[in-house]
């Protein structure tokens, strides 16, 4: 995420800048620059932005008409999209989320050690039509929400939650870090809310509405202890006595702790898959999917590249603005110097010229800074989509693990069947039956039945996830198209508009110094 802070630094040089502009305002300059000398937030941008010598309609106008009074591009505003397609819809569809008012609270512990640790809570306000709900949440609860959503909505492209980022936490100032987190949380929740499926989820609703402690378990993997014997499915695969299979487990990927044995099995299977030693029992991914995945990977790489270059561009744009400002200041000082005790008329003339140069340079410098702030906003879309790519990768891994489960169960079935066969062959050779072996065969047949139902579940789950993947990719693709269109347009309009304004500044200076032009000798 691009750091906007480095654009908005205030320096004591602004005092000198304002010296220049104060005198200039007396000329009735219609640039509308705030003469307070403070760094401008884009929202305070020129109230009357048009110089009389800009031909209307110019693209400078185009910029400012597309901004609402806050100076933000309407198309960039993240008021939630209600489902896919056309906007508005019913009032209840439109949820506005804001995260505010971070407060520090103390950790309640019963420990004897004094001085507990503290954490921050954030006020999360949900506005739906006319009604409003506010809850206080801490970051840990956000993590819980995100984990539960991942479990419940496999295959969906779920927005990635903000990082825990413990390194940044140590390095940054507390207020800075808290503010950064607040912004990130707001963005995250807004994205969740605008997702056509997740936005309507129960987990999210609980998070946003229920006061007090979040009524969601941290994860279904409650007892992640090595010794936990509650390994239901894997025990089946282990081949010991039959236990009722919790089919829900089949619909979850293997996790650490209690699913250890399952992990081992699936690992073995994935190795088998990789080495191609045994033919996979389920047809490998469909061609179309593999192609799409490759394309997405390629796209992600290019996107990452562009994003990097965009950051550089912003940096160099800012450098330009800074140097221009410093040049302006140097000329302000020169102007003062030459004006004080000027001995010759030519000195006074030169001082006046230098003042004009200083004014132009300082104005241009501000324009660069404003331009940059806007550029950051537009190009931030690129960063956002890198986050989306991450979410897509998660959705793809849901699919892979589901497939792996299916394949593992297939292998198991195959191996069970072959063991039964072997036993039956051996047993048939013994006249009168082989009690031990017969019992074994019965056990195995029971295992087969159980495994078969598990496999049916796994198959269903896999198909479901595949369909989620597909519909999500389609949805995201459409959104991305329109998002990027807007981004491009915004970026270009921005650049054009500010270039126009800068041209006006320099043309004025050219006019002021036109007596020196070679045409005028």
């Amino acid at each position: 995420m691009m750091n906007q802070d480095h654009v908005l630094h205030a320096s004591q040089d602004d005092e000198m800048e304002s010296l220049v502009l104060h005198d200039d305002n007396g000329n009735g300059n219609g640039n509308g620059n705030d003469s307070s000398g403070n760094i401008q937030q884009p929202s305070q941008s020129p109230k009357s932005p048009f110089n009389s010598f800009l031909d209307p309609p110019s693209y400078a106008e185009a910029i400012f008409t597309s901004f609402d009074s806050n100076g933000h591009d309407q198309t960039l505003e993240q008021s939630s999209r209600s489902g896919t397609g056309s906007g508005s819809g019913s009032e209840s569809d439109c949820m506005q989320i804001s995260v505010s008012d971070p407060q520090e609270e103390q950790e309640l512990t019963n420990s004897l050690v004094p001085g507990g640790s503290s954490y921050h809570t954030y006020l999360i306000t949900t506005r739906t039509g006319k009604s409003e709900v506010g809850v206080r949440r801490r970051f840990r609860e956000v993590v819980t929400l995100s984990e539960r959503l991942s479990e419940a909505y496999r295959g969906y492209v779920i927005p990635v939650r903000p990082e825990k980022s413990s390194v940044e936490r140590k390095v940054m100032q507390k207020e800075e870090f808290v503010e950064q987190r607040r912004v990130a949380l707001e963005k995250y929740l807004r994205k969740l809310v605008s997702h056509p499926v997740i936005g309507k989820s129960e987990e999210l609703r609980l998070f946003l509405e229920v006061q007090g402690k979040l009524p969601l378990m941290r994860t279904t993997d409650v007892a992640s202890r090595m010794l936990d014997g509650a390994v239901k499915l894997p025990r089946q695969l282990f081949g010991s006595e039959s236990v009722a299979v919790d089919l829900n487990d089949v619909t979850q990927p293997a996790r650490s702790g209690r699913d250890l044995l399952r992990i081992f099995k699936e690992l073995k299977q994935s190795v088998t898959n990789d080495w191609g030693a045994a033919k996979p029992l389920v047809v490998e991914e469909d061609r179309e999917f593999m192609d799409k995945k490759d394309k997405l990977m390629e796209f992600e790489q290019q996107l990452s590249n562009v994003s990097q270059q965009a950051e550089s561009l912003v940096k160099f744009q800012q450098d330009m603005g800074e140097t221009m400002g410093e040049l302006g200041l140097a000329f302000v000082k020169l102007t003062k110097f030459e004006s004080e005790e000027a001995e010759f008329e030519s000195q006074r003339v030169r001082a006046a010229d230098m003042r004009n140069v200083a004014t132009a340079a300082v104005k241009a410098s501000r324009l660069y800074r404003e331009l940059n702030t806007q550029t950051i906003k537009h190009l931030d879309k690129l960063h956002e989509y890198l986050g989306t790519m991450l979410a897509i990768n998660n959705a793809f891994s849901d699919r892979s693990s589901a497939l792996l489960t299916v394949q593992t169960l297939s292998s198991e079935l195959a191996s069970l069947h072959s063991r039964i066969e072997k036993l039956e062959v051996a047993a048939s050779r013994i006249f009168g039956g082989d009690k031990t072996r017969m019992r074994k065969i019965e056990e195995l047949k029971e295992a087969v039945r159980v495994t078969e139902s598990a496999k049916i579940c796994a198959d269903r789950e896999y198909e479901r996830i595949k369909e989620n993947n597909r519909s999500e990719l389609e949805r995201i693709d459409k959104e991305r198209q329109s998002d990027f269109q807007n981004m491009l347009r915004g970026f270009v309009v921005n650049q054009a508009g500010y270039a126009e304004k800068m041209a006006a500044v320099w043309e004025k200076l050219a006019e002021e110094t036109s007596t020196y032009s070679s045409n005028n000798s």
Binding site: F299, S346, R350, Q481, S482, R489, M502, A503, W506
Partner: protein, 402 residues
Amino acid sequence: MNSSQRSSSGASLSPRSPSSSQPFLSVSVSDPVKLGNGVQAYISYRVITKTNFPEYQGPEKIVIRRYSDFVWLRDRLFEKYKGIFIPPIPEKSAVEKFRFSAEFIEMRRQALDVFVNRIASHHELRQSEDLRTFLQAEEETMERLRSHETGIFKKPSDLMQIFKDVQSKVSDVVLGKEKPVEESDAEYEKLKRYIFELENHLAEAQKHAYRLVKRHRELGQSLSDFGKAVKLLGASEGNALGKAFSELGMKSEILSVKLQKEAQELLMSFEEPLKDYVRAVQSIKATIAERANAFRRQCELAETMKLKEINLDKLMLIRSDKVAEAEREYHELKAESEQATKTFETIVKLMNEEIGRFQEQKTLDMGIAFHEFAKGQARLANGIADAWRSLLPKLEACSSSQ
């Protein structure tokens, strides 16, 4: 600023358009050619002189000169015309020499052209014999003169020492430490302070101007990289959006070129004049040092003369036979002292004239530089606005085809 204020000398400031009845001297420095190999490499310039001065050979003369010849000329003028602000020459630059880029060569040529023309338009300097030699002599003669002089002349380090002395003396006076061998002219002190401070201010402006050039180059490079990356993204996107990206990428690359071009313009038309201004101020500092020397010499000789006078009177009193010798020495010294006084007073008079001329000239020079700066930046900004604007209809087309 009307034209009568532009030049205090009678010479035309546009040396290319002389009138036949008026005396004129017009010079151009052109056609840089790289000669020699490796470390010995140097640039030679063609110097064309057009004149109707009687002392000069013919209406037109072309000679070949190199950088050190210009240095020779400057050093000679500095020695001969104390009190006059000798136009500055571009720095020696040991590093760039090896690279000898096209831009560097052009900048140097331009600076040398300005240098010679300033001399040619100065009412006193243009009459210099050394100038005549420089403009007319055969290459072998120049070579001889050039190598002959380097041994005798002050090395830059000596000049630096003088600057430091003057600087410390100025600050001494400012701090109130009176040293008897200094002028006590309040106006002059003011001027000295002004010159020293001016150099600082100008150096800062020049520094930022140079950085601005760099920023243009950097931003240009960045736009180019950005454009390439965007084009690749467009290619992997395919469809109408991909096309939009490609267009954006191409525009970025176009703008990158514009920025690089403007960077060079900025360097030549804005940063170089500022640098030139700084050099001019440094040249004035050298003149200030010369004046201090002349003043000291005048005082020393006056002192010595007094002592000699006292001694002579003593000898006369005792009717010594050394009287004749002493009398002779005394008269010699008196002549020297009068000469030193005359030298000093000339310097003072010249400086007073020069300073007014200098201020006027600089206002004009900077005015032109500012104008070019403004034009260049306006040109760049308009180019950028046009380029982006032309992209918008294409973007609309891409999105409507969705």
